[in-house]
C-alpha cells in the first residue's frame, strides 16, 4: 500500500482505538491538532531548518515525549493551558483545548507511536491535508455532535470554486469559514490551474490571499490546523520569527502580538459584529443555517440564553433578526467594487417578506445578481435544509439597476440524494458548471423553452423579477413528479424522506414566527 494509504490507515486506527474509550471524532481531532502542532513546531527547530521555537521552554514536544503515565497526563494538561494563553497560531490552536484521553497509556501511544514516528513538516501537504479532511468529514457525519452544520459538502464547494475561477494575486474571504473548506478548495484550484506562479504570487497566496472568520473556538482550531497542514498561512515558527523581529525593532509586546494575530489566515470572531476596513476581491461562503446564533448571552438576571441578534449596521439596507439575510448584506459590503461572491442561502432569503423584500430589491439594484443554483435536499448534514447558491458581482453606484437577467438552475425538483446511499457527487453538478460558462457569461444559452419545459436552466428578466409578489426569487417551473405521478410511485422511503423535509420546512418557518412573536411580547413586558 502507498505511503498515503498507510498514513491514513494509521490515523484511522488510532481514532477507532480511542473511540472505544468514548472519544468522539471531534475529541480525537482536538487532541490530534494539538499534538501535531507541537511536533511540527519541534521539527522546524531541528537542522537543517534550525528555527527558534515558538513554544515556551518546558512545554515543547520533547518535554511530552520524555514522560509517561500520570506524569504525561498532568504535563499534557499543563501544556494545553499554558499554550492556550499565547497569541498567534499557537493561541488559536490551544485556546480552551482539553485532554479527552482518559487512559494515559493510550495518550502515550498517541504521542510516541502515532505522532512522533512521522515527519510531518516534510510530508506532502496534499497527503496530510487529505487525511485531516477525511477526519473532518467523518466528524461532520457524527450526528450526535453539531459538527455537521460547519461542513459544506466538498463536491458543491469544488463546483462553486470552478465557476468562480479565483486567480492568484486576489484576496478571498469566507466570513463563516467553518473548517475552511471553501478557502482550501480555492487554494487547491489556484495552485493547480496556475502551476507556473512566480515566487511572489505563491507567497502572496500563502500569506495574504485567503482569510476566514469563524464564530466558535473549537471549529476555528480545526480550521487553523486544516490550513496549516495544507501549507496555507504562516507557520508558528515563522510567526515567532516575525514577533522577535518586531520586538527588536522597538515595538511593544502587545503591539507585536496584535500584529502577529492579524497575519493569521483564520480568526475567531462574529463576522456580523463589525464590517472592518478591509475589502476583498472574492467572497465564498456558506453561512450557518438556522435561526439561533451560537452566542450565549448573559441576561441581566444572570441567566444564559441564546439570542437571535439584530445587528445595527450603517451599511445594512434593512434591520432583521434573520441571520442569513444579514450575511447577504454583510457579503455585499465585504466586496470591492467589481468583487464577486458566491453565497449559500436557505429558501427564506429568497422569499421572506418585509426586510427580505427590501434586501432583495436593493441587492438586485446595486449588484449584478446573475445566477441562482437551487440545491437538492439530502446533501447537507443539517437535515431537511432547502438551500441555494447565489452568485453576484458588486458594482459601482448607478441610477440604473445592475441586474439584467437572473439565470436559474433547478437541481432540486425531482432530485433525490441522501447522505449514505445516494450521495451527491461532483458529476451531478457537471451540467450546471458547464452551462454557467465562467469563461463568458454573455454566451449562456437557456436549455428550457416552451417546447422543452422539463429542462433545468433558464433566465428571468429584471423587470419580471421586481414585479413578482414580494420580489420573491423562489423560482420554480419544473413539475414535481413526486406530487403528480400516480402510476410511478416511488418506494415508501423516498416519499417518507420528502415528508420529513416538508415537516422540517413547516417547523422552521413556524419557529421563525414564534421567535419574533415571543421577542415582541417580552419587550412589551
Amino acid at each position: 500500500m502507498s505511503e498515503a494509504e498507510r498514513l491514513v490507515q494509521k490515523l484511522w486506527s488510532y481514532c477507532h482505538v480511542l473511540k472505544d474509550d468514548g472519544l468522539s471524532y471531534g475529541d480525537y481531532l482536538e487532541q490530534l491538532s494539538c499534538l501535531l502542532f507541537l511536533k511540527m513546531a519541534h521539527e522546524q527547530t531541528l537542522p537543517p531548518l534550525s528555527r527558534p521555537s515558538p513554544v515556551p521552554d518546558g512545554y515543547d514536544w520533547p518535554s511530552l515525549l520524555s514522560k509517561d503515565g500520570d506524569d504525561l497526563e498532568r504535563h499534557y494538561r499543563a501544556v494545553l493551558t499554558q499554550l492556550g494563553k499565547q497569541h498567534g497560531l499557537m493561541g488559536v490552536v490551544f485556546r480552551k483545548a482539553q485532554n479527552h484521553v482518559q487512559d494515559p497509556a493510550k495518550l502515550r501511544r498517541l504521542v510516541a507511536d502515532l505522532i512522533d514516528r512521522e515527519n510531518w513538516v516534510l510530508m506532502d501537504a496534499d497527503l496530510k491535508g487529505d487525511a485531516y479532511e477525511g477526519l473532518l468529514e467523518r466528524n461532520a457525519q457524527d450526528t450526535k455532535s453539531a459538527a455537521g452544520q460547519y461542513f459544506t459538502p466538498r463536491p458543491l464547494i469544488d463546483a462553486i470554486v470552478e465557476c468562480m475561477q479565483p486567480t492568484p494575486g486576489g484576496t478571498i474571504i469566507d466570513p463563516a469559514c467553518g473548517t475552511g473548506g471553501f478557502l482550501l478548495s480555492a487554494h487547491t484550484y489556484m495552485t493547480r490551474k496556475h502551476p507556473n506562479m512566480s515566487r511572489e504570487e505563491r507567497e502572496h497566496l500563502r500569506l495574504h490571499g485567503l482569510r476566514g472568520v469563524e464564530i466558535t473556538q473549537p471549529v476555528t482550531r480545526l480550521c487553523a490546523m486544516n490550513m496549516l497542514l495544507h501549507g496555507v498561512g504562516p507557520s508558528a515558527v515563522e510567526l515567532e520569527q516575525q514577533r522577535r523581529a518586531l520586538l527588536k525593532s522597538g515595538k511593544k509586546a502587545d503591539d507585536a502580538d496584535a500584529a502577529i494575530d492579524r497575519m493569521l489566515p483564520v480568526r475567531r470572531d462574529d463576522a456580523l459584529r463589525e464590517l472592518g476596513a478591509e475589502r476583498f476581491d472574492m467572497v465564498l461562503t456558506n453561512p450557518p443555517f438556522g435561526r439561533k446564533s451560537s452566542i450565549q448571552v448573559v441576561t441581566e438576571e444572570g441567566e444564559t440564553e441564546r439570542e437571535s441578534i439584530t445587528y445595527e449596521r450603517e451599511d445594512f439596507w434593512a434591520s432583521t433578526s434573520n441571520k442569513q439575510l444579514n450575511f447577504v448584506q454583510h457579503v455585499k459590503s465585504l466586496l470591492k467594487i467589481g468583487g464577486r461572491a458566491a453565497v449559500v442561502v436557505p429558501d427564506n432569503v429568497l422569499f421572506e417578506g418585509g426586510a427580505g423584500e427590501t434586501i432583495r430589491r436593493a441587492l438586485l439594484r446595486e449588484c449584478d445578481v446573475h445566477t441562482l443554483l437551487r440545491l437538492p435536499t439530502g446533501i447537507f448534514y443539517a437535515q431537511g435544509v432547502k438551500a441555494n447558491v447565489l452568485f453576484l458581482e458588486r458594482k459601482p453606484a448607478s441610477k440604473d439597476p445592475w441586474t439584467k437577467k437572473l439565470w436559474v438552475y433547478d437541481l432540486r425538483t425531482n432530485q433525490h440524494f441522501t447522505l449514505k446511499t445516494q450521495r451527491m457527487e461532483r458529476k451531478n453538478l457537471d451540467e450546471f458548471v458547464r452551462l454557467y460558462r465562467a469563461d463568458n457569461r454573455t454566451k449562456r444559452k437557456a436549455t428550457w423553452s416552451e417546447e422543452t419545459p422539463d429542462e433545468r436552466w433558464r433566465a428571468y428578466e429584471y423587470a419580471e423579477l421586481i414585479e413578482r409578489d414580494k420580489c420573491s426569487l423562489d423560482l420554480f417551473w419544473l413539475r414535481d413528479n413526486s406530487l403528480m405521478d400516480a402510476d410511478n410511485l416511488p418506494p415508501p422511503e423516498v416519499i417518507a424522506a420528502e415528508i420529513v423535509d416538508d415537516l422540517k420546512t413547516a417547523l422552521e418557518q413556524i419557529e421563525g414566527v414564534l421567535g419574533d412573536l415571543s421577542r415582541g411580547a417580552d419587550q412589551v413586558e
Binding site: T310, E312, R313, E314, D315, F316, W317, A318, S319, T320, N322, D347, N348, F351, E352, G353, G354, A355, G356, E357, T358, R361, A362, E467, D469, K470, S472, S482, L483, A486, L489, P490, P491, P492, I495, A496, E498, I499, D502, L503, T505, A506, Q509, I510, G512, V513, D516, L517, R519, G520, A521, Q523, V524
Partner: protein
C-alpha cells in the same frame, strides 16, 4: 401601544367615484371580477384587460393603491380584501360588490388591508350586514365609521414589513403542509403496493434459506384450501359435478416472489351476492328488519358505519347473507373509482346483511388473511376491475363471475402475517401523521390571525428604528 384611533373616513376616501389617474376611453385597464381576488391573502390575480370605455360605468372603478373591500356575503366573511396593484395604466374596474377605499396621505394601503383582514373586524362587519337573505351586505357607514389605529407613517411601514416577514413564513409552512398531505396519501399507496408485491418484509423463502429450514410454499396452502372447498361443496349436498376452480393464466400475470402462488378469488373464497331491494316475495313469507351494508358503507380500505339502514328479509335470507367477521366486502359498481373497492367485516354490528351491489367473499380456511386479500384487491387488483368491468357513461359494474375470476397472489401464511402486521403498523403511523398535519394546518390559520393582532397591538415590531432602514424604506416606498 397607544396609537391614536381615527374613523376611516377621516384618513381615507370611502367610495371615491372616479380614479384620480387620468385615463382615456380607449386606454386599456385591468378588469377584476370577484373571482380574481384571493381569500385572506391580500392578493389578486391579473384579471382581464378591457377598454376603459367598456367598463367605466356599471362597475366599481379604482386605481393602484386603492383597497378593495368585498361587502357582500360570503365574500366579505371569506376575506376577499386586497390592495389593488399592477393595474394596466394604473386603473381598474371590477365587481360592483367591491367597496373602494382610497387611503389619504396618513394611511398606508397595505396597513389598512391587513387591518381589515383581521377576524375581529370581519366579524363586526358581519354583525351589521343588512339586506335580503343571500344578498346581505356590509353597509358603507360601517366602513366609514370604523375606528382604526393611525400610527405615524414610518411605524405603519414597519408594521407592514414585520407582517410580511411573518406571513411569507406562514405561507411557506402552509405550502409545505399541503405537500405533506398529498405525500401521506402517496406514502399510503406506496407502502400498500410494496406490501402486496412482497417488497415490504423479508420473504419467507429467504428467511427459511438463511435459517436452513424448510418452509411452506403457498402451493401447499392452496392445496389445503382446495380440499376444504371440495368438502364444503360435498357437504352442501349440491348435485352434479364438482368444478375445480380454474387457475389463472400465470404467464399473463406479473411475476411474484419466491414461495408465492397465483390463484383466483373463487378458488379460495365463497362469493355471495347480496339482497336486492324491493325484492318481490310471496305474501306468506315472514320478514323482519335487519341492518344492511350499502355501497356507501363500503370504502376503500375502511368501513363507514355512521349511517346504516335497515331492510326487510326472510329468516333464510338472513341466515345466508349474515356477515361474519373475516368476510371481505367488494363493491359491485357505481362510479368508476368505487368499482371493486372494499374492506374486511369485523363483526361491528350483529346480524348485518348486505345489499346486492355489495359482494362478500368468505375464505374457506384460515390460510389467507382477509386484510391481505382486501389490500391486494384495493391496490393492484384495481387494474383487473377496471379492465373487466362493464363501463357505461359514469358508471361501471362487475359481474359475480368476473369478480370470482380475480387473480390473487398468495404468499406463504407466515409471510402474510408479517405483511399484515407491518402494514397495520405503518398505516397507523401515517394516519397519526395525517391527524397531526390537519391540526397544524388549523393552528397555522389561527397563528396568522394572532400575528395580525400582535401587529396592530404594536407588539410585533421593536421600537427603535435605525436611520439607514428609514432611508431605505422611503426609497422602497417610492
Amino acid at each position: 401601544m397607544n396609537w391614536p384611533r381615527r374613523a376611516l373616513c377621516d384618513v381615507a376616501s370611502v367610495g371615491p367615484p372616479q380614479p384620480n389617474v387620468p385615463i382615456g376611453d380607449h386606454s386599456e385597464v385591468t378588469f377584476l371580477p370577484m373571482a380574481a381576488v384571493e381569500e385572506l391573502n391580500n392578493r389578486h390575480s391579473d384579471g382581464e384587460t378591457r377598454k376603459w370605455a367598456d367598463v367605466r360605468s356599471g362597475f366599481s372603478r379604482f386605481q393602484n393603491g386603492d383597497v378593495l373591500f368585498s361587502k357582500i356575503t360570503p365574500c366579505m366573511e371569506n376575506g376577499k380584501i386586497t390592495v389593488a396593484r399592477r393595474l394596466k395604466n394604473g386603473v381598474g374596474a371590477g365587481s360592483t360588490e367591491f367597496l373602494v377605499i382610497r387611503p389619504g396621505p396618513d394611511l398606508l394601503a397595505e396597513f389598512l388591508a391587513h387591518y381589515l383582514l383581521q377576524e375581529d373586524v370581519r366579524r363586526a362587519a358581519k354583525s351589521v350586514m343588512a339586506g335580503a337573505v343571500g344578498q346581505q351586505r356590509v353597509p358603507r357607514s360601517f366602513v366609514e365609521q370604523l375606528k382604526i389605529p393611525t400610527p405615524p407613517i414610518a411605524s405603519q411601514h414597519r408594521v407592514v414589513a414585520a407582517l410580511e416577514t411573518q406571513i411569507s413564513r406562514l405561507e411557506a409552512a402552509q405550502a409545505a403542509t399541503l405537500r405533506i398531505s398529498v405525500n401521506i396519501s402517496r406514502a399510503r399507496a406506496s407502502v400498500l403496493k410494496a406490501g402486496v408485491e412482497g417488497h415490504l418484509v423479508p420473504l419467507e423463502a429467504d428467511v427459511a434459506r438463511k435459517q436452513r429450514r424448510p418452509y411452506e410454499h403457498a402451493n401447499v396452502l392452496l392445496e389445503r384450501i382446495q380440499r376444504q372447498r371440495r368438502l364444503r361443496w360435498a357437504d352442501a349436498g349440491a348435485n352434479g359435478q364438482y368444478k375445480e376452480a380454474a387457475p389463472p393464466n400465470a404467464a399473463a400475470l406479473p411475476p411474484i416472489p419466491d414461495g408465492w402462488v397465483w390463484t383466483t378469488l373463487e378458488a379460495i373464497a365463497a362469493i355471495q351476492g347480496g339482497l336486492a331491494k324491493g325484492k318481490k316475495r310471496a305474501g306468506k313469507d315472514l320478514v323482519r328488519s335487519v341492518p344492511y351494508l350499502r355501497v356507501a358503507n363500503v370504502q376503500r380500505g375502511s368501513l363507514d358505519l355512521a349511517e346504516v339502514k335497515h331492510i326487510e328479509a326472510t329468516a333464510s335470507e338472513i341466515a345466508q347473507l349474515r356477515l361474519m367477521p373475516g368476510d371481505i366486502l367488494f363493491n359491485e359498481g357505481g362510479d368508476r373509482d368505487k368499482l371493486g373497492r372494499g374492506w374486511v367485516w369485523e363483526g361491528q354490528i350483529p346480524e348485518c346483511i348486505h345489499q346486492n351491489h355489495v359482494f362478500r367473499a368468505r375464505i374457506f380456511t384460515g390460510d389467507v388473511l382477509p386484510k391481505f386479500l382486501s389490500w391486494y384487491a384495493n391496490t393492484n387488483g384495481q387494474r383487473y376491475f377496471f379492465d373487466e368491468g362493464k363501463h357505461t357513461t359514469n358508471l361501471a359494474s362487475i359481474s359475480k363471475a368476473k369478480l370470482s375470476a380475480l387473480p390473487v397472489p398468495l404468499p406463504p401464511l407466515e409471510e402474510q402475517r408479517r405483511i399484515v402486521a407491518e402494514l397495520e403498523d405503518r398505516l397507523s403511523v401515517l394516519a397519526k401523521c395525517e391527524e397531526t398535519v390537519s391540526r397544524v394546518s388549523m393552528r397555522s390559520a389561527g397563528l396568522r390571525q394572532a400575528v395580525l393582532k400582535a401587529a396592530f397591538n404594536g407588539t410585533l415590531v421593536p421600537d427603535s428604528i435605525p436611520t439607514s432602514e428609514h432611508k431605505h424604506m422611503q426609497g422602497a416606498a417610492s
